[in-house]
């Protein structure tokens, strides 16, 4: 099972980075989502894997529990990256609508002429 999880993390990371290296905003955002999945699984897996041992205390019997801390961390991470994704989607969309161009690269022209221009 560990091999599956590890390889999945690796593949999602690779695909995420590949998409991040594209030149348009949309694939980059998708890449960021993918790499977010990867890191969430990564972080989760740092608690080691366990089957049928959720960290919900059983009052009646002694049962094994999985490590709850990484789960809490991943939850925080998921929420935060959701906020981040929402923001970058919005900025990318606004940038596209303002310039009718969804290239993610800044041209020399952008950086010279428009720097800091007001809306």
């Amino acid at each position: 099972m560990e091999a599956l999880v590890a390889s999945a993390v690796g593949i999602m990371t690779a695909a995420g980075i590949f998409l991040i290296l594209r030149r348009r905003t949309f694939p980059v955002i998708l890449g960021l989502s993918l790499i977010t999945y990867a890191v969430n699984v990564f972080l989760f897996a740092t608690g080691r894997l366990a089957l049928d041992a959720p960290a919900v205390l059983n009052k009646y019997e002694e049962v094994p529990y999985t490590d709850p801390l990484p789960q809490a961390l991943v939850l925080t991470a998921i929420v935060i990256s959701f906020g981040m994704t929402a923001v970058i989607v919005m900025i990318a969309l606004s940038a596209y609508l303002s310039s009718k161009d969804d290239h993610i690269d800044m041209t020399a022209q952008d950086s010279v002429d428009g720097a800091g221009e007001d809306a």
Binding site: G10, I11, L30, M90
Partner: protein, 955 residues
């Protein structure tokens, strides 16, 4: 007067002219003059002690850690320079009052001038080399302002920049030199350093310190090959040129060489570097000066030459040469300042300072002529003027100097320089004042008002008096200064007399004078030759070099930061992977300590789907909608994996977040292109793929290694498991961690979400406030739209689904503390419930029936969470300390209350508000007039038919 005050007065005074200029030019000038005068008086008070050979000191520890102490000292050398600075400063202030025109901002001028003056005084009074460095760099800065004072002249701008670059750069070198010096000695205090000649000269760092300090001195004093900036600094108003570029700033280098003479001089290195530089500078400066037509340029190069002279003398390293140097500094200051002012007067009155357009001013401007001639003859080295005296001493010393075993080289070249010097001095007199009167002067020249000529006249009187009776007038001063220069040792034998008998120096003087006259006679022919010679124009070269460096910098900068984020990302990834690999290979790792879990078939199928979907995304990423669907698959499987691996909370959160994200992306994809064109080459894609694969391998391997090893120490989560119920009152440990053990993380997290929504809202407002709005109103959809935008079935289904979904949300929320769930997921579920309503009946219809406002929801959420945290304060507990208990109201069963639930309510509200605000904002982009509809569904036979019937009835 305390030395502090002397040094501080000009700076304090600098404030007044700028402020007082509204009160008039005289007020500004008077304020400047008065401060200078006060400082001068303060200095003169110390004459008795200085003349006794005492060193006046004052100081306090400013920055002890650094050894940068505000220590000042006044000895003979400092006194002489301070006297020059303040005395000539006073004259310049007077002169400038009349020189500057009505259009020139005089307040600014005096402010700059006093800043400069203060910096100079600081240099010469510093007893700490770091303090000295501060003043040193300040002179560069203030002179930059002064040179560039006439902002409208391009020459001023370039000159100022060049001066700053050269002297500032030299200053930086000097910083290094001084730090080395201080480190050798162990103190930055001059008084300590000057006691440690042996230590310094024996140090292996002596050479480095020497060269670096000399770089500072040579640049400041315009020594070859750094002489080029000085003539261009002449673009400044004449008072500035007179003050900075003859009397004071350029002498700072000389001052420092003199100051350091006791510890740095006396070595071969010192001799060959300093003396040679001085000699060459003296020669070249004099030669160039002869062929300059601009009076100020002529004087500037003459200054260069004379500075070289003093440098050379200091470089000789003998005590006698040091005395000669001191004496020449005094003399040069007097005649050169007078000459500059004369040149200024000529320029002012005749309207030009081009020698070629002048001549014959003798009768028109008799006073000026007299002043100028006396000063010029002193510069030429004619008796009985003071210039003669020090030149004699110089020539005398050259005769005793051997340069690489050659006895003739130094005297020969010095003589040549003296000859040129005499020639340009005669030219100054001859070509400006003598000769036939002309009728094509730009102005009508006449002697200026007394205010202008008084200052140079005073100086010329000094020139004559010193020449006639130097021993009486400046003898004690020279003695005390020289003594300071040579480090308090016994003075050598010297005499400041006009007549020393028929010495080699006298013969050389005669030759120089006659040769000078001869050269002047040949001037026209010499000029032709000079002009025919290829002369590297320093300014052009400098500008070209700076220009080239600027262009190079621009190229480097723009090439490095070319705005291609994918390259930035590649560098980041490659760097990270590389360092990670390095870190791994330089450590050690033990064998696996955990048994891997067996692979079961369903997870394996999930894995295949995940890998398949991921690879498909890479392959089909240009089809954006498909990629989105595939991302959905990945998210679904990741969520399943969480569930399978005992993380139900994660599964719930992951899937909810994923759906909302997908909806946000769909909302934006409505406006974005639906396809990504190819815009990177196949080679690039392969390179990207290779890097991605390496990074993927790295992360995969890392987590694989981690999962198969146990924690090196017991993990802190054991505490969480043990205390979740008894300390946190919940059985869902993950939730208790979120709302209690690490509630502060969650507090930050909801704020992140709230901020995200705020940003989205703010951006929407910003973008819709521009012409984007009209673009959106006129844009065509990606493809034709279908009819029936709010299908009946969807609306009806939502009427049932939404309440149920809200119920589910409530359920998820309530049970969160003990079972998978919690405020966050509940917030998302409720948001999705409302989203359903939006999708069913449309945004405008739904929002009209909305009963809460998203900003308020977010705000309340954060505030409730914060208030829960603060509530603990009243219980004498830290922020976010939770409490819980159990209630029993018959006939109900016992149930639990917990402040954590209140906190979770905050989370719930913040999440709900944030998600809704984000969706709300994004959907506003698609708003079109006429979109608001009256009914929840487009088709409703019940409604339409009854309407039809009404119509029929009416008909």
């Amino acid at each position: 007067m305390s030395l502090f005050l002397i040094a501080a007065l000009p700076f304090l005074g600098a404030v007044f002219p700028a402020l007082l200029i509204r009160a008039g030019r005289n007020a500004a000038a008077s304020a400047a003059g008065l401060t200078t005068f006060l400082a001068l008086m303060g200095l003169l008070i110390h004459i008795p002690s200085v003349m006794r050979g005492d060193v006046v000191t004052a100081g306090f520890d400013w920055i002890p850690v650094l050894g940068l102490n505000a220590n000042f000292m006044l000895d003979g050398l400092g006194f002489l320079f301070a006297l020059l600075i303040l005395g000539i400063g006073l004259l310049i202030i007077l002169y400038a009052r009349f020189y500057l025109s009505r259009e020139d901002p005089m307040g600014q001028f005096y402010t700059y001038l006093l800043l400069f003056q203060g910096a100079m005084v600081g240099i010469v009074l510093s007893d700490n080399i770091l303090l000295l460095l501060i003043f040193w760099e300040l002179t560069s800065l203030s002179s930059f302002l002064l040179i560039g004072y006439w902002k409208h002249l391009p020459e001023g701008r370039q000159g100022a920049r060049m001066a700053l670059a050269v002297t500032g750069g030299g200053g930086l070198a000097m910083i290094a030199g001084m730090l080395i010096l201080g480190n050798i000695v162990g103190s930055y205090d001059l008084s300590v350093i000057l006691q440690n000649k042996e230590l310094i000269q024996a140090s292996p760092y002596y050479m480095a310190a020497l060269v670096l300090i000399l770089l500072g001195c040579f640049t400041k004093s315009a020594q070859f090959p750094f002489h080029f900036w000085l003539p261009h600094a002449m673009a400044a108003p004449t008072p500035v040129s007179a003050y900075l570029h003859s009397a004071t700033m350029v002498k700072a280098g000389l001052f420092l060489m003199a100051r350091m003479w006791p510890v740095l001089a006396g070595t071969d290195a010192w001799f060959y570097i300093v003396a040679t530089t001085g000699l060459v500078t003296m020669l070249i400066g004099a030669c160039i000066a002869l062929f300059k037509d601009d009076l100020k340029a002529l004087l500037a190069f003459s200054t260069v030459s004379h500075l070289g002279l003093v440098t050379m003398l200091l470089g000789f390293g003998t005590k006698f040469a040091a005395v000669a140097a001191v004496f020449h500094i005094i003399n040069h200051a007097t005649f050169k300042a007078a000459l500059f002012m004369t040149a200024g007067i000529v320029d002012h009155e005749a309207g030009t300072r081009d020698v070629k357009r002048l001549g014959g001013l003798r009768q028109l401007m008799p006073i000026t002529f007299t002043i100028g001639t006396i000063a010029a003859l002193s510069m030429a080295g004619l008796p009985p003027l003071n210039g003669f005296l020090s030149k004699e001493m110089m020539l005398e010393e050259t005769v005793h100097t051997t340069w690489l075993h050659s006895h003739y080289l130094v005297p020969g070249l010095a003589l040549l320089a003296a000859l040129f010097s005499a020639a340009y001095s005669f030219r100054f007199v001859g070509h400006v004042f003598l000769g036939p009167q002309r009728n094509d002067y730009p102005h009508h020249p006449h002697d200026p008002p007394v205010g202008l000529w008084l200052a140079p006249a005073f100086l010329v009187v000094l020139v004559v008096l010193i020449g006639l009776n130097s021993a009486a007038i400046v003898g004690p001063l020279v003695a005390v200064v020289s003594s300071a220069v040579i480090g308090g040792e016994k003075l050598p034998y010297y005499s400041l007399k006009l007549w020393h008998g028929f010495t080699p120096a006298l013969y050389m003087s005669v030759v120089a004078t006659l040769g000078g006259l001869f050269l002047l006679a040949l001037h026209r022919r010499g000029e032709q030759l000079w002009n025919a010679l290829p002369r590297p124009e320093a300014k052009v070269i400098f500008e070209a070099v700076i220009g080239a460096f600027t262009a190079l910098s621009r190229w480097i900068t723009d090439t490095l930061h070319n705005g291609v984020i994918s390259r930035y990302a590649i560098i980041l990834v490659a760097f990270t992977v590389g360092l990670g690999y390095y870190a791994y290979t330089t450590g050690t790792i033990g064998p696996e300590t955990r048994e891997p879990l067996p692979i079961q078939i369903i997870p394996f199928i999930g894995w295949i789907c995940l890998v398949g979907a991921t690879l498909a995304i890479m392959w089909f990423h240009r089809n954006r909608l498909l990629s989105l669907v595939l991302i959905g698959v990945v998210g679904l499987i990741v969520s399943m994996a969480f569930n399978y691996l005992s993380a139900p909370d994660l599964a719930l959160t992951q899937i909810s977040v994923e759906v909302v994200t997908m909806i946000l992306l769909l909302l934006s994809l409505n406006f974005l292109p639906t396809d990504t064109p190819w815009d990177s080459s196949a080679a690039r894609r392969w390179r990207d793929a290779a890097i991605s694969v390496v990074a993927g391998l790295g992360t995969g391997a890392l987590i694989y290694a981690l999962m198969l090893r146990d924690f090196a120490f017991p993990t802190i989560s054991e505490f969480h498991l043990a205390n979740s119920y008894k300390g946190g009152g919940g059985t869902n440990v993950v939730n208790v961690i979120l709302v209690d053990f690490r509630g502060f993380d969650t507090f930050g997290e909801i704020i992140v979400l709230g901020i995200a929504a705020l940003i989205i809202f703010a951006l929407t407002e910003a973008v819709l406030g521009t012409n984007v709005r009209s673009y959106l109103l006129n844009r065509k959809p990606h493809w034709p739209q279908s009819g029936d935008s709010h299908p009946l079935m969807m609306v009806v289904a939502t009427r049932v689904m939404m309440p149920i979904a809200l119920m589910v949300g409530a359920y998820i929320f309530v049970r969160g503390h003990n079972q998978p769930g919690g405020g966050f997921i509940a917030g998302l579920v409720v948001a999705i419930a409302f989203l359903m309503q939006y999708m069913a009946s449309g945004y405008t219809w739904a929002i009209e029936r909305q009963r809460f406002y998203y900003h308020g929801t977010i705000g309340w959420g954060v505030l409730i969470a914060a208030a829960t945290g603060i509530g603990a304060w009243f219980n004498e507990r830290p922020f976010l300390t939770s409490d819980f208990g159990y209630l029993h109201w018959p006939p109900l069963e016992e149930f639990e209350w917990a402040t954590a639930i209140l906190f979770d309510t905050g989370v719930f509200l913040a999440v709900l508000g944030a998600v809704m605000l984000a969706l709300d904002s994004l959907s506003r982009f698609a708003w079109q007039p006429g979109m608001a509809q009256e009914f929840p569904m487009d088709i409703n036979p019940l409604r339409d038919d009854s309407k039809d019937e009404d119509k029929k009835e009416q008909a």
